[in-house]
Symmetry: C2
């Protein structure tokens, strides 16, 4: 089962150097979750051959333009494509009025139900779940109410060891129960524990999106040991004062967050337009947290599915 | 003096085949006029190395998303770049509320004066002039109030024939008057007519933008003999019923308008996303009006400066 992030845009504020403003797609199995929607997101989806109709949920971090100005274009394009299934948008307060006014004046009509869900950016809580993932928001510190998002896979069904079916003559009904975690009672009354019957469970993969934010240690326990962390690295640490003033994080600080949270991999991004080459930002984060990789438009970052180690 | 159109986006509705939605830049001398502003316009300006700070006027045809959804991004990027000089936007009613609501919720603040000018789409009149051009609107027929725009160069100063200055011992004061059209009175009281003293005047170049519109013959006298006409060619003529229903023009009809108006050159565009290859649309227009050329993102169309013929 796939668990893969695609970056659609990794620049901050103004598009520059062929980097679009923030938008990302998390694919879990065949489901696509859109995170932020900067201007040109629908263009990027088309350029990167991503089927936008697989998107049913959109998670918006905050209402700064470089994270939302592509939303109205995407929403109306869904309509032009005849979409009928509902779309859910999770965001801080205010987004609905922005969208409603644009729909009204542009003579648009949405062909599908659009549901806005207001996210309380002051506390982390469950904002969405389906059969694949749970999504919690992550309170961030920025110039306007802002929230990151943590995606965690739900436990998947256990896989039975195929050789055991024949060996113990397990019935279809028993298989169903074993996959849910049941032990097996044999005809002689003895019990075979579930762990002897199934393969070790799949690890539940996770992805955390933290942008935009001031250096903020309160996220560390929330994103603890997540496989993949996208954390903004707007500036080099030599621009710390500017980062503080604009409520952004330096690459060095992002590395510190990744290290303290013991994440699997850190992806950089939300680069200031002052940086054409982002290598120094990535290297600065790597100096603290070596397993750092550059976020870049069009790049894909997969988390491989692994089983828990045998006990 | 340059008079050149650059197409930033030539697709209709949904971006497709690397064609962005509608936006164009008309450059006259060193001044840039932006016409429509579909999503991604600021990206295109950057990709095509066009200095956006040279834009002081924006002309919007109508409030459908594919002509305006890039506006808020451009306006806020101007601010992020520290713009101070005023910006004037000409459009049908409703645009200001759309922009104001977005500015409010996105926590943006514009660093420069932004002036909205409402265009009456029912009648052609002068909507703007500076020292280079006059701009009249062109009433169009679409599903919402819509207006094209006609740009006409103003007459430039006459160029004196340099050999006459010495021959007739013309003073600096007299030169100034001759450039304005005055005759020359010699010391013996005789008169040299202005036409003997100056080169034939420059022709006043023109560009007309007609999109979106139903086939509409009322534009013909307004755009008569314009050098360059951009006219939408959303569909092939085999889709005439769909063109009528959506209030668009077929390529054949655009050729008929260009022919009847005796324009210099026709540029096609606003292509339906059903067409990957636009050659059939261009060829259909050419079957009626041979001097038709394909509009395409990134292409430039210059009108060369010519003098009137010697009488």
């Amino acid at each position: 089962m796939k668990f893969e992030l695609t970056i659609l845009g990794c620049n901050s504020a103004i598009p520059a150097f062929n980097r679009f403003p923030t938008a990302q797609i998390l694919q879990v199995d065949r489901q696509l979750y859109l995170i932020d929607c900067g201007e040109g997101t629908q263009v990027r989806l088309s350029q990167f051959n991503i089927r936008k109709n697989k998107i049913n949920q959109i998670f918006i971090s905050h209402l700064h333009g470089d994270h939302i100005f592509g939303l109205i274009g995407l929403l109306t394009s869904f309509s032009l494509g005849g979409r009928e299934k509902p779309l859910d948008i999770f965001s801080p307060k205010g987004l609905q009025e922005m969208i409603d006014v644009q729909i009204k004046h542009s003579g648009s009509h949405l062909s599908y139900p659009l549901n806005f869900h207001e996210v309380d950016t002051t506390v982390s809580s469950l904002v969405f779940e389906d059969n694949l993932v749970e999504v919690h928001n992550i309170p961030l510190i920025h110039r306007v109410p802002t929230s990151g998002y943590l995606f965690r896979e739900k436990p998947s069904a256990l896989n039975i060891r195929s050789e055991k079916i024949k060996e113990l003559n397990i019935s279809v009904e028993q298989i169903i129960e074993i996959k849910k975690g049941a032990d097996l009672k044999l005809s002689d009354g003895s019990i075979v524990p579930n762990t002897d019957l199934v393969l070790p469970p799949w690890q539940q993969r996770g992805f955390a999106f933290c942008s935009d934010t001031l250096y903020n240690e309160t996220v560390i326990p929330i994103i603890n040991k997540v496989d993949l962390l996208y954390h903004e690295t707007t500036f080099l640490h030599e621009k710390l004062e500017q980062a503080k003033y604009t409520k952004h994080t330096t690459a060095l600080q992002a590395g510190m967050i990744a290290k303290a949270a013991q994440v699997g991999q850190l992806i950089t991004g939300h680069y200031s337009s002052r940086y054409d080459d982002v290598t120094p930002l990535v290297e600065e984060a790597q100096s603290v947290f070596p397993n750092t990789i550059a976020g870049m438009d069009g790049e894909r970052y997969e988390v491989i599915q692994k089983r828990n180690p045998e006990l």
